[in-house]
């Protein structure tokens, strides 16, 4: 228990918060890495996922497109679980990409590990848009593009958000590992603690990282609730129905990316 008291002392020392290696700087680095990676991952993935989810319907309901999407989703998910983030980071570090510094390999690794939850959730959301609604929209003469943007995207939104939430929490967790290869972020406090054999600092860093992950998770849960379109109407039921699963999904999808997720 002493170590935890020491950690508290470490955390409440003002010196540890300020300065170039201080907690605020590390937090800034951490959030920067997370933000950049998430933006890149979203830009790369979401259009592809929506397209994969959309395709079979547009092509007249032939199962092939859907199967292709499923195959991509399942395999990318399973691969994400089996490949250790740490290994990917180190391998990337030793490639020419790592010569310019730690940031590029880190961002690439983070993007890679944000892909599975983003892709699978958005894909499932789009592919599972109520067929009756899609049919009705087509009957109204909507083009394929309109169908995608005005029907499937809004219907998929809760799932897309779930994917973003899962991926973000995962990326926050994974960004910690950047410290192992000499990058920035809050993980640096932990590794520095190990290097100095300062257990108090190690524990303090761990508390910060864990707290950040939990806070991000909490904020995103709230954001998801606020942003879900049409809540308060019938969609609320849907949202409510998804509530429980959403809890589970979070884990499932994290189990999906678990290796990276908790990495």
């Amino acid at each position: 228990m002493n170590a935890f008291l020491d950690a508290w002392t470490w955390l409440t020392t003002a010196d540890h918060w300020a300065g170039p290696g201080g907690i605020w700087t590390r937090l800034g680095e951490h959030l920067y890495l997370t933000g950049v990676s998430m933006v890149i991952a979203c830009v790369l993935t979401l259009p592809l996922a929506l397209w994969l989810g959309h395709t079979p319907v547009a092509s007249g309901g032939g199962g092939r497109g859907k199967r292709l999407g499923s195959a991509v989703a399942v395999n990318i998910t399973n691969a994400g679980r089996a490949v250790p983030t740490f290994a990917v980071l180190v391998v990337l570090m030793l490639t020419p990409l790592g010569e310019g510094g730690v940031t590029t390999p880190t961002v690439i690794a983070l993007v890679l590990f944000a892909l599975p939850p983003l892709l699978t959730n958005a894909y499932v959301g789009a592919a599972e848009a109520d067929p009756d609604v899609v049919e009705a929209a087509r009957g109204m003469g909507m083009s394929s593009r309109q169908l995608m943007l005005r029907i499937e995207l809004p219907l998929a939104f809760p799932m897309v958000m779930t994917g973003i939430r899962t991926a973000t929490v995962q990326v926050v967790a994974t960004a910690t590992l950047a410290a192992l290869v000499g990058g920035g972020g809050l993980g640096r406090i932990i590794t520095a603690g190990f290097a100095n054999q300062n257990t108090a600092q190690v524990v303090a860093g761990a508390v910060l990282v864990a707290a950040l992950a939990l806070v991000v998770e909490g904020v995103l849960v709230v954001a998801q609730r606020l942003l879900t379109p049409g809540r308060g109407t019938g969609a609320r039921d849907r949202a409510a129905r998804e509530e429980l699963p959403a809890e589970g999904r979070e884990d499932g999808a994290r189990a999906v990316g678990a290796p990276s997720g908790t990495a």
Binding site: K66, A73, A87, R249, E250, T262
Partner: protein, 284 residues
């Protein structure tokens, strides 16, 4: 001559490395397997009573699930660091961290699996005079097995991967080699250890799938009939597929589209479903 050149040239792939460091690689792999295996076995042993408790006292269910979600959110590096003062620098830190992560998955899946047992079946068993113990072990557990095994597979594959981070306390199995390879910029070592990690995960998954099939022969017998049901295989987060997607029975083609809003059908899906649990896991 050219073989040893790859060491001096610091090539990514190097046969000479494999030959000269064989012992080291085997030791690291064995440590990796030992850490992962111990953790998963302990987690299964712990998860079982926990799931039963959570099922017995429904009020506990929410708490248990929330707690496990919180645990899962904690990054690995932080987890190991937090456990450091408790165990000191030892393999116990890594094993304990992995047990906590695995519990998260296992308890959820066990609960989902047990919940997925149809009430009719329970009723019938009771009518046949089954007591609670026999009901659990002879009826509920076998029916929950696919969900349970799906959980074990996800937990194992994750654990194999998370063990690498244990290098921070010097007990990361193959992770140790990756870590030291990074410091010395030894490409062959890093790549070989990384690949071995992935291979371990895939092998573990396939072995567990084999165990699952051996334990639930009835699922297979029904496969032909139920194989084309919707759902299952395509669930994100579904544990029902090997990481390489290589096991036939559970390839996505086997089971139509994903069906996120469908209720976890009980167990009348092929192994693909990995089952209610995997679904629950995926938040379906």
């Amino acid at each position: 001559m050219s073989a040893s050149n790859c060491l001096t040239a610091n090539a990514w792939i190097c046969g000479e490395y494999l030959r000269t460091r064989r012992e080291e690689l085997i030791d690291a792999t064995l440590q990796h397997v030992a850490i992962t295996g111990t953790a998963v076995v302990l987690a299964v042993l712990l998860a079982f009573p926990l799931a039963l408790l959570a099922r017995r006292y429904r009020r506990l269910t929410g708490t248990v699930l929330t707690l496990t979600t919180v645990v899962y959110t904690i990054p690995t590096l932080a987890m190991y660091a937090l456990l450091l003062p408790v165990f000191g620098i030892s393999a116990a830190v890594v094993v304990c961290g992995l047990v906590l992560y695995s519990l998260t998955i296992l308890v959820r899946n066990m609960l989902a699996g047990l919940d997925g047992v149809p009430e009719d079946v329970r009723e019938a068993a009771r009518g046949m005079g089954f007591g609670p113990g026999r009901l659990l072990f002879r009826v509920e557990l076998p029916l929950a097995l696919p969900a349970l095994m799906a959980g074990v597979r996800i937990a194992t594959v994750s654990a194999v991967s998370l063990t690498t981070v244990g290098a921070i306390v010097g007990n990361g199995g193959l992770g140790n080699l990756i870590y030291s390879g990074m410091d010395s910029l030894f490409k062959a070592q890093v790549l070989t250890a990384s690949v071995l990690c992935v291979v371990l995960a895939v092998v573990a998954d396939v072995l567990l799938l084999g165990v699952q099939r051996a334990l639930t022969p009835w699922v297979r017998a029904r496969d032909g009939r139920g194989g084309r049901r919707r759902g299952g295989a395509t669930d994100p987060g579904d544990g029902g597929d090997a990481p390489d997607g290589g096991d036939g029975a559970v390839t996505p083609g086997g089971g139509g589209g994903p069906d996120p809003l469908a209720k976890p059908a009980n167990d009348d899906r092929p192994i693909a479903a990995g089952a209610p649990g995997a679904r629950q896991e995926a938040g379906q």
